[in-house]
């Protein structure tokens, strides 16, 4: 394959958000080195400003309808890509807000922290646009390198180092699987670009290749059975990094999963529907049941995250345009609720110096604001109306029932009740139990910003989701020709 770069300036415009963010990253790094007087707070706000500009550019693209493909279709900018990039940029900005307090406790490398976060975000933005297997591999590794460093950032903390090591070893293993899967798929199809693979005849090589790729991406999103790294890594990593891990890489990997399965594997839909149904059932059930036993709030949210990914995979199992719309909407709701919950955790753990669920005893007396917002976020995660998570789950269920995935639906509904239990346990600690120490817990300004944004998103998406649903629907118009109700359902047990 001869690669000719015949780019015009107009083509490069499609890359504008990424190019801008790359330049901004260099600026951040050099400012950190050169200006000794610059505090890390200023650097943080500067990073947020860069992300804000990137977000505005993306919104402008979305409004103007700018779309296109670059580098022989390796990089594609479409409205779905923009949607996912906005989720990533938004999540990164919120994570930076909640990092500001946390970074004060680092003894070294405060400035580099922000650079690493923004760099990972940049990698994930490329992921959301990658349209062939090679760019999937490169961008995935690009974004993960930042995380390897960030997870182990608390150098003197054993847990953080352990988390980093586990994450690294399993992450590299997943990268190996991905590379091997790509080579198999390339060998069978002779191409790397998703859209050119449609219609290839099925073969064992292709099947194994795709299963390996699914395993690598399943590792990124933390689906059972590729979830083993999640609890320890979530617990050990610095909390803002955990928050970042819990949403942004999942969004980026889901963008790839949707593109890959909806485009290149459209003709094998009955098979991969079964794959997602099984993965979804196991993720939901395992995540929710194990979460009940947790004593640490970060581990609780780790397992709840596994269960939420199970919910998200209901949309992939539906395998329709409505399924992908539901995933995109659900991710929006998850972004606000999950990041908001982590912001509260940071505020509480700065006072308590630990992350045990016991620390939340009597939070309502110590800080009514934090307790009420945590209540909202947890209930949104549990899927209680009128909060965003409820609409997200109903949307996924509607997508699933239109495909008649009854088994999946029944498991999903039972899981709502199971998950209610452990979220309510935290609520019970906050509201019903009495605090051991009743000194007030105060949240700093940046944390409050993150919490307020979380509340606003959680409530707004819950009571007025119409425009956001329409946005998700219009963002994935290219899937409107994907097969409607198909024979897929007949493959299911009980379907």
């Amino acid at each position: 394959m001869i690669f000719q770069l015949d780019l015009s300036v107009a083509d490069l415009l499609l890359l504008l958000p990424e190019i801008f963010l790359t330049l901004w990253l260099c600026l951040l790094l050099s400012l950190d080195f050169s200006l000794k007087r610059m505090t890390h707070q200023q650097l943080a706000y500067l990073s947020i400003a860069g992300l804000a500009v990137t977000g505005l550019i993306l919104l402008g693209f979305d409004q103007a309808g700018t779309t296109g493909a670059l580098f022989k279709n390796m990089f594609v900018l479409d409205r779905m890509g923009i949607f996912f990039k906005l989720i990533i940029v938004g999540a990164t900005a919120l994570v930076l807000f909640m990092s500001i307090d946390y970074v004060k406790d680092f003894r070294f490398f405060r400035g580099e922290y922000y650079v690493m976060v923004v760099m990972s975000a940049l990698g994930m933005m490329f992921m959301a646009s990658s349209n062939d297997l090679l760019s999937v591999f490169v961008t995935l590794e690009f974004s993960t390198f930042g995380f390897y460093v960030l997870v182990a950032y608390l150098r003197d903390d054993q847990r953080s180092s352990e988390a980093g090591l586990k994450f690294f070893i399993l992450g590299v293993f997943a990268a190996g699987l991905l590379a091997y899967g790509i080579s198999l798929v390339y060998g069978e199809t002779g191409t790397l670009i998703f859209s050119e693979m449609t219609g290839t005849p099925g073969s064992y090589g292709l099947a194994i290749g795709y299963i390996l790729i699914f395993a690598a991406l399943g590792f990124k999103i933390g689906a059972v059975p590729f979830h083993a790294w999640i609890p320890d890594t979530y617990q050990g990593a610095p909390t803002p990094v955990t928050a970042f891990l819990s949403i942004a890489p999942k969004a980026a990997a889901l963008a790839i999963l949707i593109r890959m399965f909806y485009v290149s594997l459209a003709s094998f839909k009955p098979m991969w529907v079964l794959l997602f149904v099984v993965a979804s059932i196991f993720s939901m059930t395992y995540g929710n049941i194990v979460a009940i036993a947790q004593k640490n709030i970060k581990r609780l949210l780790a397992y709840s995250g596994i269960a939420q990914i199970g919910n998200i995979m209901i949309g992939l199992a539906a395998g329709t345009k409505q399924g992908s719309d539901a995933i995109m909407f659900f991710l929006l709701t998850y972004l606000f609720a999950n990041l908001g919950a982590f912001a509260v955790i940071i505020a509480v753990s700065r006072v308590m110096k630990s992350d045990e669920i016991e620390d939340y005893n009597g939070l309502n007396r110590r800080s009514p604001f934090l307790a009420a917002s945590m209540l909202l976020f947890l209930l949104s995660l549990a899927g209680v109306p009128p909060l965003a998570g409820f609409i997200g789950k109903i949307y996924l269920f509607i997508a699933a029932i239109k495909e008649e995935l009854y088994t999946l639906l029944i498991v999903g509904l039972i899981n709502i009740v199971i998950s209610m239990y452990y979220y309510l346990i935290v609520v019970k600690k906050m509201y019903i139990n009495e605090p051991t120490d009743s000194s007030p817990i105060l949240a700093s300004m940046p944390i409050k910003v993150a919490v307020y944004v979380g509340i606003a998103g959680t409530v707004l998406l819950g009571v007025y989701p119409g425009p956001f649903i329409d946005w998700a629907v219009s963002a994935s118009l290219m899937f409107s020709n994907i097969a409607g109700p198909t024979a897929a359902a007949s493959l299911l047990p009980g379907g």
Binding site: P385, P386, F390, M420, I432, G466, D470, V473
Partner: protein, 531 residues
């Protein structure tokens, strides 16, 4: 304001809850006044729709419809018929009364009133939703505030078992043990209630999603679904059972009732009032709104299930009430028992019995919430709910004792109260279809008489324990007003039920005709009702 009344009724408590966020928590009086004013607005508007409902026209009135999501087929669609209207009115009365009953709550007043307002508003939302999605939305929304209201402001019960002398422990205790699992903390009660109701809700949600998909219409609009939805027999039966048992768990029908008395016992007075008064009626109401409207054929075919189960509800609840020693258990189990009458009225599917069931929902809401309010007052004064240890309180609280007797009489169904009319209608209307159940229901009334008198005697007459010498009566208007409001409503409607009956009839007649496949204008129900 006419056409917007439903929005006012629904959003006044929500806006009140939001306003409370900005009221400083030190200003306790301001907090209470904000709650009371928002509930008062809701009450006045609901009184208006109760009076202004056009009985000649019938059907859904005061309709409001706003597109919410075209993609999912959801509209924010409100309207009341002759069943929803009175229940909206009952919810508003209970909310208003409940706010005054809990006037003396000191601990985290602000949060208490916020959750109470949200709970009541969500209940009101169910009664006026004409969209299945919003019906479920408000239904599920009403469950969660209950968790916090019970868990935070509730009280531990000494427990059914510990109140009984161990040497006299007989069969009744083992029954109590099985159904209460021996635990009596408020946390347990709150968690059990929430999980039970959520489990019921997701069963119903499965039914709703099946209606959405298998009708082929992909809409949640009840009005459209009731005209156009058709299902094959097996599917209709499956959906009917999902809907029935999903919603009946909150009603609560035997054997799904065990969360309810535990929950009542743990809850603070105002929450018990709303819980027994209107929350439990969400179940009956939703069955009527969803199963009766959308699946009339399955309803005709399967409603005998309710008639069978209601026998157990009536007898079991009545017996436990008779032997229970905790005031709130007595009232709680008596509520479970009385819910059986509503199921009987619904199952018989005649004009009279179904009208009676609807009126009974309203009547029971008033009577039982009075009882709970006063049990709460007695508990606040004496810190005891153990009937054997109390007694002679009539000396200390004559007003409460008098009101309590009125409430007991209402609960028994004394002529002059609205309960009487409802009970007579259920019994007369169900005779043709279910004579055996009617006999049981009449025995149930005798049983009600027995345990109500027993409780009345145990609390207010006999020897006064000197330990309770400091107990005081409700002297302030704030404490008397909610009880008087409920009594006045109950007796006024009992003496002048005309308009109320017309409101209910205008909706029930076409509904029963449709279910029994009778052409309109035939007023006597002669069709075979047994399966």
């Amino acid at each position: 304001m006419g056409e917007y009344s439903l929005l006012i009724i629904l959003f006044a408590p929500f806006l009140g809850a939001i306003a409370l966020m900005f009221v400083p928590r030190e200003e306790a009086l301001l907090v209470r006044m904000t709650a009371a004013i928002s509930a008062g607005i809701s009450l006045m508007a609901s009184f208006y729709i109760f009076l202004a409902y056009d009985t000649a026209k019938g059907g859904f009135q005061f309709v409001q419809r706003y597109a919410w999501s075209e993609e999912l087929g959801i509209a924010f669609y409100l309207g009341v018929d002759g069943i929803g209207g009175p229940l909206v009115f009952a919810s508003a009365i209970l909310l208003f009364a409940g706010i005054f009953v809990s006037w003396h709550i000191k601990d985290r007043t602000k949060e208490f009133y916020m959750f109470l307002l949200i709970l009541a508003a969500a209940t009101i939302g169910v009664f006026m939703s004409l969209d299945l999605f919003f019906l479920y939305f408000f239904y599920e929304m009403s469950v969660l505030p209950m968790y916090l209201l019970l868990g935070v402001w509730g009280s531990h019960t000494k427990g059914y078992l510990s109140m009984t002398n161990p040497e006299e422990r007989k069969l009744r205790d083992s029954i109590g043990f099985i159904f209460n699992f021996g635990s009596n903390s408020k946390e347990y009660a709150a968690m059990k209630l929430t999980l039970f109701l959520s489990a019921g809700a997701v069963v119903a949600l499965m039914g709703i999603l099946l209606i959405y998909h298998l009708s082929g219409l992909h809409t949640f609009d009840i009005v459209v679904l009731r005209e156009q939805a058709h299902f094959s027999d097996n599917v209709a039966t499956l959906i009917w059972f999902l809907i029935f048992f999903g919603f009946a768990s909150i009603a609560p029908i035997w054997p799904l009732h065990s969360w309810s008395p535990v929950g009542h016992a743990a809850a603070p007075a105002a929450t018990s009032m709303l819980h027994a008064g209107v929350l439990m009626k969400l179940g009956h109401f939703s069955i009527i709104r969803v199963a009766f409207e959308i699946l009339p054929d399955s309803t005709r075919e399967w409603m005998w299930v309710a008639a069978v189960l209601c026998v157990f509800s009536i007898i079991y609840g009545g017996l436990v009430s008779y032997f229970a020693k905790d005031t709130k258990y007595v009232i709680g189990y008596s509520s479970s028992s009385h819910m059986g009458y509503i199921f009987l009225g619904m199952a018989a599917l005649s004009y009279i019995s179904l009208s009676g069931a609807v009126i009974y929902m309203f009547a029971h809401a008033l009577a039982t919430s009075m009882l709970f309010a006063m049990a709460g007052w007695v508990y606040d004064q004496t810190h005891s709910r153990d009937i054997p240890s109390l007694g002679g309180l009539v000396e200390k609280m004559p007003f409460i004792a008098g009101a309590f007797i009125v409430a007991c009489m209402a609960s028994i169904g004394m002529p002059g109260t609205i309960n009487f009319i409802a009970e007579v209608m259920i019994i007369v209307g169900s005779w043709d279809a279910y004579p055996f159940q009617v006999v049981v229901a009449v025995l149930g009334i005798v049983l009600t008489l027995a345990y109500m008198f027993k409780m009345m005697r145990g609390l207010f007459y006999g020897r006064l324990d000197p330990e309770y010498a400091h107990a005081t009566d409700a002297r302030h208007w704030v404490d008397r007003m909610p009880l008087l409001l409920l009594i006045v409503c109950s007796i006024t409607l009992g003496i002048f039920p005309g308009h109320f009956y017309e409101v209910v009839r205008s909706t029930v007649e076409p509904m029963v005709d449709r279910i029994n496949q009778v052409a309109p204008l035939i007023t006597q129900n002669t069709q075979g009702l047994l399966p």
